[in-house]
Symmetry: C2
Subunit: 388 residues, 2 copies
Amino acid sequence: MRNAVIIGVGMTQFGKFLDISLEELGRVAVWKAIKDANINPKDIQIAYVANGLSGLILDKVGVIGQGVLAHAGFGGIPIINVENACAGGSTALRGAYLEVASGNCNIALAVGVEKMYCADLAKSVAAMTTNTPYNNMGFQFSGDYAMNLRRYMKQYNVTREHFAKVVEKNSYNGSLNPYAQHQKPLSVEEVLNSRVIAEPLTLYMCASIGDGAAAAIVCAEDVARRYTSKPLVEIAACVLKSGTYRKQKETDPDIDTCIYTAKEAYQRAGIGPEDIDVAEVHDAMAPSEILLYEYLGFCKPGEGARLIDEGRTKLTGDLPVNPSGGLAAKGHPVSATGLAQAAEIVWQLRGEAGKRQTKNPKVGLTENAGGLTQFDDYGANSVVILKK
Amino acid sequence: MRNAVIIGVGMTQFGKFLDISLEELGRVAVWKAIKDANINPKDIQIAYVANGLSGLILDKVGVIGQGVLAHAGFGGIPIINVENACAGGSTALRGAYLEVASGNCNIALAVGVEKMYCADLAKSVAAMTTNTPYNNMGFQFSGDYAMNLRRYMKQYNVTREHFAKVVEKNSYNGSLNPYAQHQKPLSVEEVLNSRVIAEPLTLYMCASIGDGAAAAIVCAEDVARRYTSKPLVEIAACVLKSGTYRKQKETDPDIDTCIYTAKEAYQRAGIGPEDIDVAEVHDAMAPSEILLYEYLGFCKPGEGARLIDEGRTKLTGDLPVNPSGGLAAKGHPVSATGLAQAAEIVWQLRGEAGKRQTKNPKVGLTENAGGLTQFDDYGANSVVILKK
């Protein structure tokens, strides 16, 4: 396998765009990435396009990526439509990475696009419940997260205030991010006083639904300088796993697919968690960011809340996490999220993150997870390590 | 890239199975392939799972493959859900091929599974129209095919009888195939007298909707002998393209994405169309098999009907096409089709095709196409060349 680098990224703002089509959202992200990479669309040899919910929400099915690329004004290349629930974007990135790293092509495009808002909000809500483990009990994701969080709170003396502090941090970051769906900084009090969704989760702790798209151009390192003079961002590891640890969790609640995904990613990149300078993690329910600190090895089990208390994961801390605002502030149009995370890390590594720029990071990480099933704790868990 | 071989295939019968779940169909195909390959499920390092219509027809969305593999009794490996309309199965096969050929893993699984029948048939029908180019005119695929066929008939003096002869041949083949959805041999008269769907297409010329699954195990050639003593079937080429020739077709009606896909496949395999001993092609509307003879280089433009007249593509001919019965007889559960084609060619090359076995073929081809959009003649076109 040869080295692959990201030479261009792009995204739309995330938000509620009832009058903008899925294809148009995709087009905007794709062309921003193309311009950022300074390539011609004809240089793109293959495309991976992630989308998850068009069947249920938009009554639209099949060859979504072909529609996006045709609308973007080009085509004729192989297009592979992928889906992995909330980890669809990272799955598309992994595909583009493998095409380039394997030598199958020099330049590959990864796109993630999702429209979750539609005129009939009931459809959007229903789409979120079809594959949760207990959906026949009326469960949504929030309930599943909530149960796990309550167990964690009890085990490690973690409080609702800790969870609210994550939102305080991320909503502040989001307020500095022009792409974010929610740009209002929230105080701990506002978070705790917002309405309860599933105890201990309050409204502002939960990612809302959203529309949006994000894209990345992956290029063989040895030809990348033909196109761009910007810093090259190497994909040092791009690992995807599915979890089967739901049963084991009954006896070892600290177990999680993410632990194994991260371990393999660190190994492939030849680094450890101590080498990570900035991270974007999957806080679809913001408190889970604290657990992810532990799963990703940023601290030991039970010590996650301390990182929040000490402000270490703020923009100004030694390990900024979710500088973009994370899923709860930036928005979470499911299949776009993994690529939006990658875009943020690329901007951070290049020093292009504007008001939310962290201090000269050299190594960044994205963690993206999706799809609970009755048997898996995650249908797909992705950890990507990016290096300047 | 290193050599990759198919060491196991499996499929369900195609048909109408209202009481069998999508997951159960997938499980059966996966385990048949596992047993055929003589591997342990733990040997499988990654899975590509194709499914297209669950969102619209089953109100089910997300991580379909995770559900199938969990139901099959295993998981924990990366699972990549892919979609490419009727070419989804070949897209999954291409993914598994790339994982193995690139050296990323030794054994990869490709699965295609589709349930098109449901209690409310209107949903099944609606799902077939969402992405045709003129769906706002009430068009279905049959109309698009019919227009192209009428042009072809006029240009080359081809008759409805020629088209019916394709069905006569393929329905006979299907009658010998225990996996086929329709196992009744049809006469030319029966085909012509069946009701008109879209002139010149009659009912028996059109693939019906269906439920089913098919799977293949792809393995690195250099370790394949650890598992199987059966003939190894090499993936000599596995090419996927998207078409943008709709505009060009106005001035050059003989142009088709398949021509370019096949050309690249022959080049990669280092052979020509004259080396193909047996083929499975995408006859969703049976008459298009005649056009595919031409696109695949089996004869010159306008000479396809002669191959039918001379019986050369019958089981007993020098170039048997669709020995399985093809899509119209075997059935066409869309995302399963590409892998069912591959299964048939593997059986043919191994001499395991029973009553429909062709004469000692050494090189086989599958052609699988899917997804019309307003801009593309095919959203995805796949040509795979398999060698004993």
